[in-house]
Symmetry: C2
Subunit: 481 residues, 2 copies
């Protein structure tokens, strides 16, 4: 059923049905975004215009002389069906129906949606939507969102795919991701998911070479069994992190008025997610904090964490946060403590947390990391560099990361590194640099601890499914050595 | 014992013992910060220099011809006592000892600290430290931190006081607060708290007119009973939010190697905090998320929350987050639903969450807020404006906030407003504007929910202590009407 949905994300040509000449209207703003991002052919469809935004306009899809891969439809609900028939007869492959006025508005809308799906099937097309904001693909520039660039940011290309049942939340997340510098491979808002649904997208994204981690915001699914199967098929290959709302009774009631979704018993979802190896997030920040670590770092082979810190207080908070999540911060062996003592300052604390203190210099952090990684006593390193202290210089990031990569190339189970840098502009600059070099960086120990937990949980899941080594092998093929 | 510690925060003159001519040294950087922030008299003390950073230097404190309010001491540990005797004889009131090498380094250091305290008491001085970064007061410019402005940011004046047992964490928080635009009244890092301790600072900050909320990072206290009493005295007057680390077994071990603090049984702290009306935070973001709401908004008279949202998905997530914390998101009465239906778009959802939808305009949010505030059915409003949608304009913040303030002036129990705006640059700009007008704004519903919980919990505490009405009265005197 799913087939290859590539044409939705990398179409050669796109028609915009409902293209408008009036700034502020969805049909104008959407077309304008498309002209600014997308590099393929664009055909505005509007029966009363000859030209819009410098592009020749057509009265209908059938009137377009060339092949159209995808038709984006933004006309009143009662006119959608006509446009869909038109698209079907013109040989369009994929439809993205932005228009609302379907299942989400009650009985009449549900009937309309049923006819819509029948027509789509009849012409062997596929449909994203209705009642959605569609797709955004940085790599191809395919972009059906209708908020102007002046209000809404769009993130760069990266390795996180994001599927959202809520269009408004999806837009806000893209906007936030742009500011955060979080790269995305594909964004899909599928609204009522009348045709293309979670299962289809999981199957597609599982094979998508640009996607390393799949993130989803969902309020409910119709066919739980099929969803579970799709998840179960995907998670041994790629991590799936899900933010499922409507968790509480009041939340479920809210979800039902929002998308008409049956939020279902949360316990059922929770158990199913656990059995399918899904990592569950409880908010946007957690969703992407987890995804970032999974996109940049290998999964962890165990739960033993070394806390390597410049600030004692943050080391204590990190230890609390890790312990809260059931992770271990084991005291190091006497041999390792002795090795650390030899390279660190006399005032440093060589146990775990390894507190190099605010008087430390770059080399103390680097030498401590080397000793910890080679000790065989820890599986993950949580790194708190405090870029502001006098002894930490601009050489720390490149030298630290070079060392980490070199050692990890020699280890059977590479040791993931997760970073914390609490601070202002100076810190943010160096934190972003570390992240661009592959280390996920967080503002607080608590958020980083959840990212560590995701790496440990996913590592555990890969071990359970017997896929740990295969995953690491693929990672080594992919990453620059 | 405590007396008035004003001279530490608003000294007329400060001596810097250990002032240095060498950039990069603590004694130089500290003096430089002081010259850049502080507007009183500064006297560098250095036996081998005549002048430092354009200021006349003195060989000892006693050699300074004028009165010295505070001596900041940054010399090696073994030379501290001599400087302290000198200060005592010169009639200095307050000492801030930055130097480490005391209780935190073991037996010898503990002996040294004991002598230090004896000397301080003998001369009837007060001491902040040793082993600390001291104080930062935006209003007076008193600043004993030694990281340069190029690395570390300093927040503007505001109404949150922050007391930190960890100097490095304290510095990082100031830096983060500067970037976040979070105003502070006073920052105190008291290190080993050999003399001025939590109790003294609580007593001082309780009376401090610039401080509306007291935040603390602590790893442990020596005299639990006395601390509890100080907390119990303070919380009916001002909210106290505490981030106490060393909560877990591993964390307590880490805290003990950090400051030698006895982290104690966390359950004991937790129970004491509850009995003393302290709000407990579990991380930096939570600490200041809670403090911000308490500094800007009145406490809530009850647990009933209205969720007023432009985005359906975020409304669901907000409802989940509020429910998780034991707060209510009650369905509104038929009368209120009908009133909302009359002013909102047909596609809006008038229950609770009140989802005005992404097609809403400013007036829908404003009219809905008015109906909710006057309904008597809710105690708090969680507001999710989604600044990016087309119908929301630059008029929303001023008009919304004007209305809210007008209605709150007529209510016996004012209704606090907490906001959520998930997004990028455009959103951040309008979010900062709303905050400058008095509405605390958060990036995610989960973080905002914790802020709402703080307002509800503090309101509850004030009701328990019989101080609710008095607190609201004081608030009304203070706030511009």
């Amino acid at each position: 059923m799913s087939g290859n949905l590539d044409y939705f994300f990398f179409p050669e040509s796109v028609a915009v049905v409902g293209a408008s000449k009036t700034p502020g209207k969805v049909g104008y703003e959407l077309l304008r975004n498309l002209t600014e991002f997308y590099r393929g052919e664009i055909y505005p469809v509007n029966p009363t215009a000859d030209e819009i935004l410098g592009l020749k306009a057509y009265p209908s899809i059938k009137a377009i002389p060339d092949r159209v891969d995808v038709a984006v439809i933004s006309v009143p609900a009662e006119k959608v069906l006509e446009a869909v028939v038109d698209a079907g007869e013109a040989g369009v492959k994929g439809l993205i129906v932005i228009s609302g006025g379907f299942k989400e508005v009650g009985h009449e809308g549900a009937e309309r949606e049923k006819k819509l799906v029948e027509t789509v099937r009849k012409y062997k097309m596929r449909l994203i939507g209705p009642n959605c904001v569609g797709v955004y693909v940085p790599k191809s520039g395919m972009n059906t969102l209708f908020l102007p660039k002046t209000r809404q940011g769009f993130p760069p290309h990266g390795h996180i795919a994001f599927v959202s049942q809520s269009g408004a939340f999806g837009s806000a997340v893209l906007d936030w991701a742009a500011l955060r510098g979080l790269g995305m491979s594909k964004f899909v808002s599928y609204g009522n998911k009348a045709d293309v649904d979670d299962d289809d997208l999981l199957e597609y994204l599982k094979k998508d070479p640009d996607t390393r981690v799949i993130t989803m915001y969902i309020e409910g699914v119709e066919d739980g069994k099929s969803f579970f199967k799709a998840l179960r098929d995907t998670t041994p290959v790629k991590p799936v992190v899900i933010l499922k709302s409507g968790r509480t009774e009041a939340g479920a009631r809210a979800a039902s008025s929002h998308t008409g979704a049956l939020a279902g018993q949360d316990k059922v979802y929770d158990a199913a997610f656990k059995q399918a190896g899904v990592l569950r997030a409880h908010g946007m920040e957690e969703l992407f904090d987890m995804a970032l670590a999974l996109a940049l770092q290998p999964p962890s082979h165990g739960p033993r964490v070394a806390v390597l810190t410049v600030g004692g207080g943050s080391g204590v908070m990190a230890t609390d946060a890790l312990s809260d999540l059931g992770l271990q911060v084991p005291r190091l062996s006497d041999v390792t403590v002795e090795k650390l003592r030899r390279v660190l300052l006399p005032i440093a604390s060589p146990y775990n947390p390894v507190d190099v203190t605010g008087s430390a210099r770059d080399e103390h952090l680097i030498q401590a990391a080397e000793i910890l990684m080679k000790s065989g006593e820890v599986d993950v390193i949580l790194w708190l560099p405090y870029y502001i202290v006098p002894g930490v210089t601009e050489k720390l990031n490149p030298e630290f990361i070079k060392l980490v990569n070199e050692i990890n190339n020699t280890l059977q189970h590479p040791i993931p590194i997760v970073g914390v840098a609490t601070g202002g502009s100076y810190t943010v600059k160096y934190s972003a640099e570390a992240e661009s070099m592959g280390i996920p960086m967080y503002l607080s120990p608590e958020r980083a601890a959840k990212a560590v937990k995701a790496l440990v949980d996913y590592g555990n899941w890969l071990k359970t499914t017997g896929k740990f080594s295969e995953y690491i092998e693929n990672l080594r093929k992919r990453l620059p050595q």
